[in-house]
Structures are given as C-alpha cells and as structure tokens.
Subunit: 712 residues, 2 copies
Amino acid sequence: MTQLSKTLELDDLKSTQPAYLESIFSLANGHVGVRASDPINPSEDAGTVVNGFYEESDIHYGEKAYGYADKNQTIVKLPDIRRITVYDDNRNKFDQSQLKDMHLDMAQGILYSTYELSNSQNESIELSLTSVVDQKENQFIGLRYEITGKNYLGNIKVEKDFDLDTTAQDSDDPRKSRGVTTLQYDSLNLQDLKGLRVTTDNSKLFVEMGLALSEDMEMILTLKDGPIKFDVLAIVGDIGQHISSTDLPTFESIKEESIEFWTRFWNQSEVEINGDDSLNKAIHFNLYQLESSAGRDGKTNISAKGLSGVGYEGHYFWDTEMYMAPFFAYTNPDIAADLIKYRYSILPEAKERARTLGVSDGALFTWRTINGKEASAYYPASTAQYHIDADIAFAIYRYFTITEDNQLIKDYGLEIVLETAKFWTNFGSFSEIDGKQRFCFFDVTGPDEYSAIVNNNYYTNRMAKFNLDFAIQLIKKFPEEAKQLGADKHTLNEFAKIRDAIYLPFDEEKGINEQDDSYFKKPVWPFEQTPKENYPLLLHYHPLTIYRYQVNKQADTLFADFLFDDISKEQLIKEYDYYEKITTHDSSLSRSIFSALAARLGLSDKAYSYFRDTAKTDLIDLQGNTNDGLHIANLGGSWIAIVEGFGGIQIKNDTLNIRNNLPDAWNGMTIHIRYRDCLLEIDYSQDNVQVKVLSGDPINIVIDGIKSTVGN
Amino acid sequence: MTQLSKTLELDDLKSTQPAYLESIFSLANGHVGVRASDPINPSEDAGTVVNGFYEESDIHYGEKAYGYADKNQTIVKLPDIRRITVYDDNRNKFDQSQLKDMHLDMAQGILYSTYELSNSQNESIELSLTSVVDQKENQFIGLRYEITGKNYLGNIKVEKDFDLDTTAQDSDDPRKSRGVTTLQYDSLNLQDLKGLRVTTDNSKLFVEMGLALSEDMEMILTLKDGPIKFDVLAIVGDIGQHISSTDLPTFESIKEESIEFWTRFWNQSEVEINGDDSLNKAIHFNLYQLESSAGRDGKTNISAKGLSGVGYEGHYFWDTEMYMAPFFAYTNPDIAADLIKYRYSILPEAKERARTLGVSDGALFTWRTINGKEASAYYPASTAQYHIDADIAFAIYRYFTITEDNQLIKDYGLEIVLETAKFWTNFGSFSEIDGKQRFCFFDVTGPDEYSAIVNNNYYTNRMAKFNLDFAIQLIKKFPEEAKQLGADKHTLNEFAKIRDAIYLPFDEEKGINEQDDSYFKKPVWPFEQTPKENYPLLLHYHPLTIYRYQVNKQADTLFADFLFDDISKEQLIKEYDYYEKITTHDSSLSRSIFSALAARLGLSDKAYSYFRDTAKTDLIDLQGNTNDGLHIANLGGSWIAIVEGFGGIQIKNDTLNIRNNLPDAWNGMTIHIRYRDCLLEIDYSQDNVQVKVLSGDPINIVIDGIKSTVGN
C-alpha cells in the first residue's frame, strides 16, 4: 500500500545536495541512525550515529574560570554502512554515480534509492538500494542491493566493507560538531560477519558493528542473465555490548517488523490534513523523523539533530522537554516516560552541578549534555538558562496529567520535581520590589538567547513558580514517598511561601509582561537599518551588541503565556503584538510557538503562515543547515502548532479541552492522540469537531467550551 | 652614598623563593627588563622582557561568536642574560649555588647579588654580580661578575652564552602568561659580540640581543692570585632594529648614567616618610619599579607586570591611566605624555573595534592589548568594560590640568577625547526613568569584575559624563582643531544634551549612589559562611555565583567618588561604609583607592591600614603571585594613596589644593611634585604644611582651604 501523503520524494525537497539528502532521508530507530548516503560516493558527512555514543575531549578556553564545563562530549560518526564498491571486468571501479530516484515510504519505514553508476569507459549499470531499520531489537539495518546492467552487461565484482573515516576535523561553528580523532578501530573475529569495534580513547566507550553478507562477495557475478540482487545485514550493537552472529534477522523479517511498527505508530499518532497535500506530507515527515530520533531505553534521549547527523555534537537540550516531549506524551507515552527516566539517570550529576554553582541544595540540570555533565563552553547561553530545571519538571507534569501514571512519578518523577523545586528556593532570594518582599532570580538567561544574564526573566520566574507549585501538588498526593525523599509539611510550607512570592515582571504602562527587569528600558533593535544578509544576528553582531537591544531570537515571555494560559486575552493580544515585532525567529524553536499561540488567539493568518515555515523547516532548508542534521525540536514544534494550536488541544482542570482553530485554508484535519486510557480520533472540519474513542472507555471532555462525553 | 631608605635588602622581603626574588629585584628602563635570576641556577621564570615584544597565537574558544578577540598577544620571554657557567679544573661545573646577599640600591639603580657556588666535591667559590641597566639609550645592561676562591683556589673556566628556553608551556591561569613556542633563534655574525636574533613566527617581530665580553672566556683563569673580575655588556635592541657592536658603553659609563638618572628621578619624585622606615622604603621601592616599567617612546605603555615578568601576557590595561599615570603626570609629565601618545597610536584599532561592537561612530579602546587589538578572551570582564574609553580621556584631562600642555592636546589628546565622547553618544540610548528621559548604557561591566553585564554602572556612567564634559571644554578651547576633526557647535550641543541626561543610579532609601540599576536588589554575599581559603572568590566560585550577589572585587562607585569629589561628605561616609563592607579587595587595585578616600574622609586608621597593605603588596607577597611579576598598578596606587590621600593633593578649579591628612603614626612626610612649570617640595608635619618651589615661579595654591602664594 503506497500512501502518497506518507511518501517523501525528491520533488518535495529544496535541493538534491548530497549531504542535505543524507539528513532528510536518514533512517533511525532511537538507537542507531543511518544517513542516506550515495553508496558509491558518500559525502564527507555520511555515516552512522549511535544515540549517546560520544567521545570526550578537553574544552579549551581563552580564559577559564571556576566551574566551567571542562570536557566536550561529541557524538561519534561511525562508518557509513551503505557504501559498496563495484568493479567491472577489468577491475576498474564504477566510480561515478548519479542519483536517479530516492523516496521514503513513511508508512512502512522503507527507503528506496536508485543510482546510475558508470566507469571510466562510460559504461553504466543501475544500482538500487532498499534500506530498512529494525524497530524491534533496534540493532539491525537491512540493506538490499540490486544491480542491473544498462549499456554494460559484463561481469562485476562487489566489495563491501567498513570505510573508516580518519580525516575528522574540528569546526568553530557551534551548531556543527567537532571532529573526533581519538577512536580506535579493531576488527572482530566473528563467524559469517565482518565485525568492527570502535572504541573511544577518553570516554572509554565502545560500539561493535557487523556486516553480514548474504552472498559470497568474492564471486564474480554476471549481469547478462539479469539483475543481481543481494542483501547485507548491518548490525550496530548497544554501547558497551558485544554483538553476535547468531539469530540474525533477514531483510524480510526486518521489513515486516518495520511495517508493523509504523502501522501502529500512525494509528497512534496520525495527523492528517485535508486540503493541503504538501503540508500534510510535511507533517508526516516531521512525525516520522521525530519518532525515529527518540531514545527508547531510559538511558538515552533525543539529540538536537536526532540520529540524522552529528550537528550540535549529539547533545540533549531543553528541546526534548519543551518541544519534542509533548508529541510523545500525547501519542506514545512509553517514550515520554523513557525520556523522563533518562533525566532521572543524570540526577546525581545535576545535584553536583548545583553545588558547583554555589547552590546548597537541589539539583541543576546541565544545559547541553549526553552524560549529565555540562558540555557547553559559553555559560551566558547555557548554564545561565536555569529554566531547564523547570522545563524538565514541566515535562513530568505534562506526562502525568495526560497519563495519570502514578508509578512513574513515585519511581522517578517525584524526586526530580522535588530536587528542582529545592534548587529554586536556594538559588533565588527575597528582595523588596514596590514595597513588597518578592522572590527574585538574578543573573539568569531565559529561552531568548538574544538577552543574557538578566534579572527576573519572566519565563524563568513563571516556570520556577510552576515547578514549586507542582512539587507542592506531588507532596500532597504522594506524602509517604515525599517524606522518604525528605520533603514534609515544612518543605511544603516553604515551597508555598516562595511560590507565592515569586516576582513576575509586568509593565503597567504597556499592560504586558516584561521579559526581564530592564527589558523595556533598552532600545529596540534597529531593524530598518539591518540588511537581510545580517540574519541570523548572532553570526553578524557581537553578543554585547545584541544583548543591549530589545530583540528576540525566539519566543520567551510568549512561551510562558502559551504554556500557562494565565493572562487575559486582551493582554495576550497586546503581548503577542509587542514581542512579535521584535522577534527575528533566528532560532528554529520560535515559529512553532508563535503559530500555536496565534491559533489560540484566532490570528488565523499568522498562525498559518508561521506553521508553514515550521512544518517545512527542513524540507525547504529554512535555516540553511539541514545538511548537519534535521531540526528535531522544530519537528516537535510543528506538532505543537498543529495539535495544540489549530487542534486547540489543552488540558484544563484535569480535563481534555479541544478548540477548533482550523485555518481557513484547510477543509479539515484528523488527529489521533492518547488521553488517559483512551486513544482518540479527533476530526475537525470548518464548522465541527467530532471525537471518537478508538480504544478505551468513554470519557468526559470539553469541546469548544462545551462539556461532553465521548465514546467509540 | 648609601641611603638606607633607598636600599632594598633580603630582610625587607617576605621570602627568598627564587622566582619571587627575580620579580622583586628585576631591573628595567621602560624598554627592557631583566629578572634577577640566580646566574647558576635560574628559575624557570628567569629571563628578559622587552616592552611590547609579543607573539600572536590563535585564541581557542569552546564556543566562538562574532567579534570575539581572535589572537592572543603574548609577551615573549627572552633568554636570561645573567646566567653563566663556571667550571673547575676537572671541567666539572660549580652547579650548586646559594644566595648569600642581594640588595638593590634604588638611589643609583644598581643591583648587588652574591652567591656561594660549589661543585660536586663540595669545593666552593663566591660569585658576586653587580648589574645596572642603561637609562639613556635604553639598550644596554652592564653586568660585573667577580669570582673569589673560598676553599677552592684552583683554575676556573667560565662560559657565557644565551640560554634558550625551548620548554615553554601553556597555563590556564589568566593571571599568568601562556608559553610561546613559535620563536626562531638565529645567531648573528657581529664582531666582538655573541649575537642572537629572536623572531616571532606569527606577529613577525624581531629583537636582537648581544653579549659583549670584556675577557676572552676561553681562557683558563686562576683564583689563587685573588678574585677574578670581568664585565659583560648585554645589548637588547629595539623591536625590529638591528644592534651593532660599535660605540658600546662600558659598565662604568652605564653606571654613571644610571646614577645621574635616578638622582634626577628622586629629585622630581621624592616621597619621604618620617616615622616609619619600613613604609618609607616600601614606597621608594614602588616608585623605583613604577618608573622602571614605563615605556618612554610613545609606542609602548606599561604592562600590568611592568618589565618584571611575563604575567598577564605583558598586556596594557586601564591600570595605566587610572593607577600609574597620576604619578607620572605629577612627577614626570614626559612619560605621562608618552603614555597618551601610545593610546593615540592605537586609535585606528579603537575605531575599528567600535564598529565591531555595532557602534557607528567613535572609538572603543580594547581592554587588554599590546598592538591595539583586543586580546581578552572573556568579554564580560573585558570588552564590556567600556569605561576604559573614559579612563583614557581622564588621563588626558589630568595631564592637561597639571601641565597645561596645549600642544599635546592639539596633536594627540583632542582626537582621542572627541572619539571617545562620540562613542558614548552612539553607544548609549535615551530611556524613560522616573518620568524623565535619561541617557543610559546597557550591558556594561564596571571596574568591579564581581558584577558583569549590568545596566547603568555608576562608575561607567559618571565617567562617560565626564568624558563628554571634557570634550565640550576642549572643543571650546581648541575650536579650530576641533573643527578639523569634525567637531563643531552642533557636536558641542549634542554632547551637552547627552552629558546632562546621563543617568546616575542613586538609592533614595540608602541615600547613596548605587553601583548599577539592580545592585541593591541582589542579596549580599554570604561572607560569614565563606571560609578564608575561598578568597579570592574568582578562583572558588562560578562567575554566575559571584555575579548574583552584592560583592565587590574592588572599588567601583567609590572610585568615581574619589575621582570627582562631587557628593556631600555625609553621603560619601555612608557610601564608603556600605561598599567597604561588601568589598573583598580580591583585586590589587582596590586598597589604594580605599586608603586615599579614607584619608580624605578623615578615617585615619582605615586609610593607614589600607595603605600599609597597598604599599607592601609585593614586599609581603600579599596576592601570593609576585613571582609572576610585580603589581605595577598597585605601585602607582600606593603613590595615589600617599600623595592624593595623606598628602591631600587635588586640583580644584584649576588650582592645586593641598590638605594635610597625615596619619597619626607619622611624624611627617615630604613629597616632590610638579605643577605647571614648578617643581614643588611639600613638607607635612602633624600640624603644618610647608610648600617650597624648588624650580619655577611662585604660584597660587590652596593649603587646607586657605589660598596662598608660594615661592622658593
């Protein structure tokens, strides 16, 4: 079954630049990612990525200070497994290749690619490669090669082995990844397998890879009797685990599992737009790649580029909790739970980090990390973003609200929420503002990285307030478990006192929340004198220049407004209008929130326009760097925009609310989400919303403000 | 003639640790500095320093951004010229040495050192080395070695050559210097000279050095007939200039010039304390070393460690203008003028830097530099210290007020003052504060580096106000010259408008100036919970931890108070009291200002106590790092404390004012300063001040508030 809206083709894309295609068509399963390289002439970015497999190196500072991150953590680019070498009769290579077709079946998780190969005599053959990633044990990649003679019909010989990248180089662009030059490659002695162990010198990790070949590649094959077909099974083991050559799956069995997996996935996660095929395909692509990126073992997370490339060094950021986790919480809560378990696994490092930052109790999660330690070398836009603590608490809150999974809270969530709450109480301090004692946070950076080291960032303060409030709720709900973790009535009172006193900057004259204590005092960025080519600003202006103006890289105060929906519509409209004018959207995390909030406000055109850019960020290469990997947070952001924005999905007073914010351009939309024990199908048309319970018991929900009970 | 108070001996010092002694007893002449190494076993810090002779290297950032400094500038440590090798009859070295005596005659500029040397047979000889630095042509160092037999009276052979340091290593301590490993050493073919050219690979500079030996060192010498004496003349050429072996001075001629130079120096710069020999000697040491450190060619400046070591990489800071220049302006205005000329020479780089910082007109001097380009890798405590612009303008103002040197203003000063004034007008912006339009500066760092990236730092704003005011004065006084530089009546009005609108934070409740917009909102540093070993704080706390508290590394608002004397005594007492409580004096620039201000306030005990620490910072190794070089700014600070503090020297309304703030502990004090064309001798006793004009015409001054005319 081919679904057009779930088939991504070359015509859907901005370009056919090889590294760009490698990212777009990458296949992954949360553990291993395979960039869609040309098997004859892979780009220098081609390769395989294993979630969480990183090398350490010293961070060099021009000037170092106490408490700075001291080690880089860099995701390792493993050998490209798609590569083969094809020889002609005269032992000359078919070393030219031309891409003829590439398409990804997102309904089944299968990538098809076809190349015309030629040798120096201009003799040509056709190579097609079908690849599929194992979605069950997560260790296998099935590769089916088929070679057909064109104007060459002689004998061929094929070589298939690991191609080791020993030309790694460093880069100064923080959005790329530094090269890793401290890897050891060892051959493995395994029956019927070409095996390779890749060991990191400093982080002392290893991954084993294997290639199981269905044919004897030493044989000379002839094309004159028709196409030659052979399968290669690639194995990429877990970090620190040995691979084996027994009980290996076949290409067909991997394919079957993949079809089953993606069928189930779409049943749980469907988003179908009626009235815009191109956006419909874009959102399918986004969800497909988002699902592919997420670690499913509780030990790994979702890197900023997923498993589609090595950009941002494979680090995990707040992106997970605030942009990616909503999708999982509403469609695949097991993965949302795994992402929380990962944070729990690095709680010891977070406690240590809080001590390093001079805070006597509680935990401070690091801004960018794989192993839990801080890996950012620029603290004003990393360590100072203390809000990550509350972001993680918020992801737990969201998960809990949707699933009511008490066990996960008891086992993992409660401790995280208590430790982050404690952090805020020990990090902040009381200060008199307008004659009242208010609880303040000094020298912090909010989500908007175009301001840094400010006082009372609205988003940060609002999130801290939430974090304390949620901790209070959990202490009340799980008093025994809380007590075991040292939180009692005294804690509760302390938390409540501080929660109530947290200062939230508000500008009386403008009637809107102020991004931080001094934000509106600064001049507005001279947008009219700024040429287009000077965006993104961070590449063309010194941080001090950017910081001293009112200019936003991304949603900040508005993000808090979106999350908490706690200000009047009148204020929100003013606030949206004000901040929109000064936002550059230089971050790929920005437009989705502007879209979702606009949809909620009934600013339909704006919502739609931002959504279009969000949905197609990678397909149109909006940021110009998709070749380094996909913008995974934005993929999640596009789901937020469509489901929480247009679909008006929101949980209020412990009840699922749906509001129909469908854009005019669409005839309708169908989404599948989970809420509590139900899988729901929600059908939106221009004048109606219909909800069906696909599985589970009838539930009470609110549709466009009206309470109703829905069943199957 | 030996003056006890001008002879520094080992007994005056904290320790005899070799690297410490090398700094303390270093000899210099503004061009070349020679660390006082043990000639047999120099420490690894031993060597020769040439003012402004630096190598470049790439600055490596963990994360780089637009406009960051991209090259280190690192002062080169040149070969140690004191080193010799002495062999016994059996060609064994006298390789053990023990320091017997070292003393510095600061009245004449001669360093005496004596060592007992022994070989592996425990046979010993005595080596004494007398050294003196040429103060005329500035290229020569006279070294007189004398070897006397002790229980060894056989033959000796001496070797004397350059000892090349090829073991340079990097250091992470920002107060030290990184190692330079990119030097080329070439022998020079010069008659009667061992010559060496040292070339830097990246900055493409060279310095030539030579050793002229008075004896044929190949000869075997015998000790049994009495001591053996020989002279070595070391030559250290100007940067980029060839040295020659003709017209070389002798040891004696260098010595004579030195005596003449230092006699003249003390006549112009005398500070004599009557009643505390130890402090008297300390202040003599400070002035001696301060004078030795200052570049005298208009192309070089005074590095943070002078020429006594390679700490702080030989960079020039605001230290020059605010701590060192007062001494020169009042005692040796030619050097003060040279220091201004240096700034003029890097004005093109300062204009370029302003553009890089997004400011469309004017010049921004870089925070730490040799060649005019920014060399600091940590912008929150460097580039953000915009106040350096006004500091430089202030040094010009001070020089001009004292000397009335119109020509220097026309040729150099005016353009600097106009360019820095223009910077402020384009860098700042109007903002409404308490219903009024005030001119503000956002995201700046003041002198206190324990706060960073703040708004409206009092010191910065006050200095900017001064800078504009001074520019206005100069435009009025030199209208033709100003016009040629593009400054006319319109400029004057614009400057005046902004000067009058500059915002100065003041806290109504406390009744004192506030360090910045949000300073008093922050909690006070938990001093009581801070163990002594955690100072200096910067080595034990993350910058974000320090920044979020009220805690000062050094005088900030109080420094502005000291400079401008523009607030009531009542307010100043409150302000002093408030800021003193939260100041750690972790910077060596702090105590001198606290002392001077206390003296002015009549807080005699405090003034005296701070002065004692200031005066002896290096002699007692207060900061624990004198081995990296002397704290030159503090040497100048000690002069400020004694002359402007206790001596009450101040220029008000274009008139020299003297106030007798002599501490109780002293019987009296005599100082020599220049004012306009006069060299003055001012004698303070507990109940009297007497002023004598040593040279020049009678002038009107104010003594303890009373106008009087003084003559010779």
